[in-house]
Amino acid sequence: MNANSHLADRKYIIGGFFILVAVIYIARLFYIQIIDDKYKLDAQNNAFRYITEYPVRGYIYDRNGKLLVYNEASYDLMVTPKETKGCDTLALCEVLQITKEDYLKRIKKACQAPNSPRKQSVFEKQMSAQTYAALQEKLYRFNGFFVQKRTVRKYPKPIAAHLLGYVGEVTKEKAEKDPYYREGDYIGISGMERSYEEALRGKKGVQIAITDVHNKVVGRYMDGKYDTLAIPGKPLFCTIDMTLQEYGEQLLRGKKGAVVAIEPSSGEILCLVSSPTYDPNLLVGGKERARNFTKLYYDSLNLPLFNRALQAMYPPGSIFKLIDALIAQRDGLIFRNTSFPCHGGYPPMGGKPKCHSHGGVDLPGSIATSCNSYYSYVFRAIVDQKKYPKFKDGYNYWRETVQSFGPGTNLGTDLPYDKPGNVPSVKYYNKVFGENGWRSNTIVSLGIGQAELTLVPLQMANVVATIANRGYYYTPHCVKGVGYEKKQDQKFKEKKYVSVQGETYYTNVIDGMQRCLDGGTATASKIKDIVMCGKTGTAQNPHGKDHAVFLAFAPRENPKIAIACIIENAGFGGTWSAPIVSLMVEKYLKGKITRPEMEKRMLEADLINGKNLLHEKH
């Protein structure tokens, strides 16, 4: 009993001791929370600073390894307004050469949404090297300020603006959606900069620093456990031939239009010119960029930011006859020696569409002379053929076959924002003419590439590349290697076969295209020693003078280049587009120009401002 009570005492001693400890703790907690205000102050003082290390954006090289785009260092001065207490404002204003009012205005802006006094925002964008040097010395006096190093794009030659695209600040929406970006980050907005953004940008690094009340970095958060190193962007090795691109841009100066050249054996885009263009150096970050962009954006006469090569949908005109000829041959509707009447127009419809009284030409001849009547017969023969008792099925068949060549579809190129063009559907015509209100003759002008039919220049180039390959194409693309390991999307290595297969069909068409330059519609553009096969076209323009179209490939055997050119409001294709194509093909294959007068005439013509040298001669 005694022992037991003794035991009881002992355990309550321990229990009492613990209670005492607990009471001490509670007292201690109250002391820290309520009486001692030292630590409350401290809580305000601890701050993180995320120091972002921006990776170097990947360089871009042309197909021969020449540099198209590189970077230059630039320095942004960042501010966290909440931390600027004790900043030597006067000295800062002096270094930046701004007034006190400017300073206050900018701080105010940095405090307002979307910025915040607690968050860092840009105070001065892209300081000059001298300003940066002067600032760096005194930075310790500027509480709340630090310098963010970044890079901006530079272009050794002011070319290929549409193709390369530009880099700019990420939009608020994008920054909210994609966790990689924060407001103020740069992102590829158009062209290759956009489609290869992920490879080009690399990966940002972040250092998380802990700062004290004086805005001094006192340590690294968790010993740098969460810090990451920046990974530099990958270089792009693109398919563009810088020389050809530059030459194309020179030739199209003063003209509205586009030229696209493709290497048929690979689908590699050799050049992609859209005119009018702009100097890509104009759209390089900073204050200048915004001003220049606004200027380019509001140039409604020239629309320099508009990439005609991918986005302008033109009626193809006579070049479309090539596709008709191929389809009709495959269906056994025409042969090499087939001829149709042409009495200055398509006889069954009272001479419409109009023509030049060819009569009796065979298939190659119909292409060389571009007989409208011939292809009105051909188109109706396809649509009304016996295989399809209902002509609408025949039309659908024609449409699907045409689409296999690319028109009316997105080709799937590696450039953003390409338009599909248009091959009208049965549904569309039912709506326009009524269920029973149309026949093959109603839409006969489709056969000669007019009416609602539209293509973008890239698709025109792809059609001619397909013909050069005798029935297949590779999806056109402008990058053949990403990173030093030169990775490429497998889809660009796949042959795409169009619906018309058969060597002879192509030979007959190509014979016509060759004749087009040997006494046909583009005779003046023949190149000595090079067998070029081409086709002229005139795209009807309801708003003014017709657009001139020409497409060609060369040489005839083992073609090295397939090219399409469209010049707006230039009339007949043989006059403007064919010489430009001819010069570019010669430049690409021979590396020199043998016809300086032709070159001079093309270079100097200014169709936009009405300086048409040909017309002046008249």
């Binding site: 022992a3 003794h6 035991l7 009881a8 002992r10 355990k11 309550y12 001693i13 321990i14 229990g15 613990f18 209670i19 400890v21 607990a22 001490i24 703790y25 509670i26 201690r28 907690l29 109250f30 820290i32 929370q33 001692d36 205000d37 630590y39 409350k40 401290d42 809580a43 601890n46 993180f48 966790p179 802990i210 958060y221 968790m222 969460y226």
Partner: protein, 382 residues
């Protein structure tokens, strides 16, 4: 609650376990919220799910243990206590070969790691409880106390000490408390305490003057010096903890809103109490303290009610050990004690440690269950 119908033993202890586990899930949830928000790193749900699974399995372990008759543990302890010696030795030597203090052993094949001291702790306490019950006669002489208690306790603590000083010291004090309650004569207790104070002074002197003489000596030296000097720069962690406490207020800043988590390197274990106060308030902090106190007094109650003293000693020994550890963890957070690295039992994140704590709880519950049974039996006989 229907759930309680399936659970035998002290319902209050069960309730404390559940409340503390709930708190631990809340804390891990805040940690996940913060991490996910600040660093946008993936697998944030992973931690939460993993922790939840660990807790559920922990309850499973407690359930199984509380179903076992506690006398079985007496037999297990006799063997287990002996087995824990080579286990600790293995951990120690493996650590030496790796060039650092090692506390963990990996169970081959399944990738789970556990601290060998967690097992040794439970085994030693069970062993001491048994000796205090069975060998009372031999303990009347100091020689017996030394042979049966001090040597085994000293051996286990000595084996834990190089890798984990605080756990060893805690366990030793724990055993002393158990001996104190277990009727070891007051005179002997005073001898032992006197010897301990002497040893502690000696160790402090050695650590401060010849830190390289002992493994981890440098770490200990730094911790002691930091605590004594109170220098703000080196006492960075405790200052950050105090900031957390100061800014929590009575009801806290809300889950995931801790800013101090970022500044406290062991926010999910060593300094968890400070973070809990910052996010869930002083009120929650005091309630937690209260819960641990209740746990302790339930242990004392079990001892009071038990006829067979072995069970009582087990219950009091294990509940002491948990509460004591909790108090040390909290003391660090409120800067009453140097940084030790003791997790908060049942609350801190940390896999297998939670399971050992749950096992200990299961054993306590098993004792309380047998108390209930005997009370029921008594009532029937009357």
């Amino acid at each position: 609650m229907k759930l309680f119908a399936y659970l035998k033993g002290d319902k209050v202890i069960w309730a404390i376990m559940m409340l503390l586990s709930l708190l631990s899930v809340l804390v891990v949830y805040s940690a996940v919220v913060t991490l996910a928000h600040k660093f946008k790193q993936g697998n944030s749900e992973y931690y939460l799910i993993k922790h939840f699974v660990i807790i559920v399995l922990g309850f499973g372990i407690a359930y199984v243990f509380h179903k076992i008759k506690y006398t079985v543990f007496a037999k297990v302890a006799q063997i287990g206590f002996i087995l824990s010696v080579p286990l600790l030795l293995y951990t120690l030597l493996r650590g030496v070969s790796a060039g650092e203090a090692s506390r963990w052993i990996e169970i081959p094949g399944i990738g789970l790691t556990f601290q060998s001291s967690d097992i040794a702790k439970i085994m030693l306490l069970l062993y001491v409880a048994r000796v205090l019950t069975v060998k009372q006669d031999a303990l009347q002489e100091f020689k017996g106390v030394v042979k049966l208690l001090l040597v085994p306790i000293g051996l286990i603590c000595a084996l834990i000490l190089p890798a984990n000083f605080s756990t060893a010291a805690l366990l030793f004090v724990n055993c002393l408390c158990l001996m104190f309650i277990g009727r070891v004569r007051m005179k002997f207790m005073l001898y032992i305490i006197g010897a301990c104070v002497g040893f502690a002074i000696l160790l402090t002197v050695v650590v401060l003057n010849f830190p390289d003489a002992i493994p981890r000596g440098r770490t200990w030296k730094a911790r002691i010096e930091n605590f004594i000097s109170g220098d703000t720069k080196t006492n960075y962690q405790s200052d950050q903890a105090k900031i957390a406490v100061a800014n929590g207020g009575v009801i806290g800043k809300g889950p995931g809103n801790s800013t101090q988590r970022a500044f406290l390197p062991q926010a999910s274990s060593d300094f968890i109490y400070a973070i809990i106060i910052e996010e869930y308030g002083l009120l929650t902090g005091v309630i937690m303290l209260f819960l641990y106190m209740v746990l302790l007094f339930r242990g004392i109650r079990i001892l009071r009610d038990t006829d067979k003293t072995f069970g009582g000693f087990i219950a009091i020994g294990l509940s002491f050990s948990l509460v004591f550890q909790a108090l040390i963890n909290m003391a660090v957070a409120v800067n009453l004690f140097p940084v030790t690295g003791q997790p908060l039992p049942l609350v801190s994140m940390g896999g297998t440690s939670i399971w050992f704590t749950m096992a200990a709880m299961g054993i306590i519950l098993s004792v309380s269950k047998s108390n209930e049974d005997t009370t029921a039996e008594k009532l029937e006989t009357i």
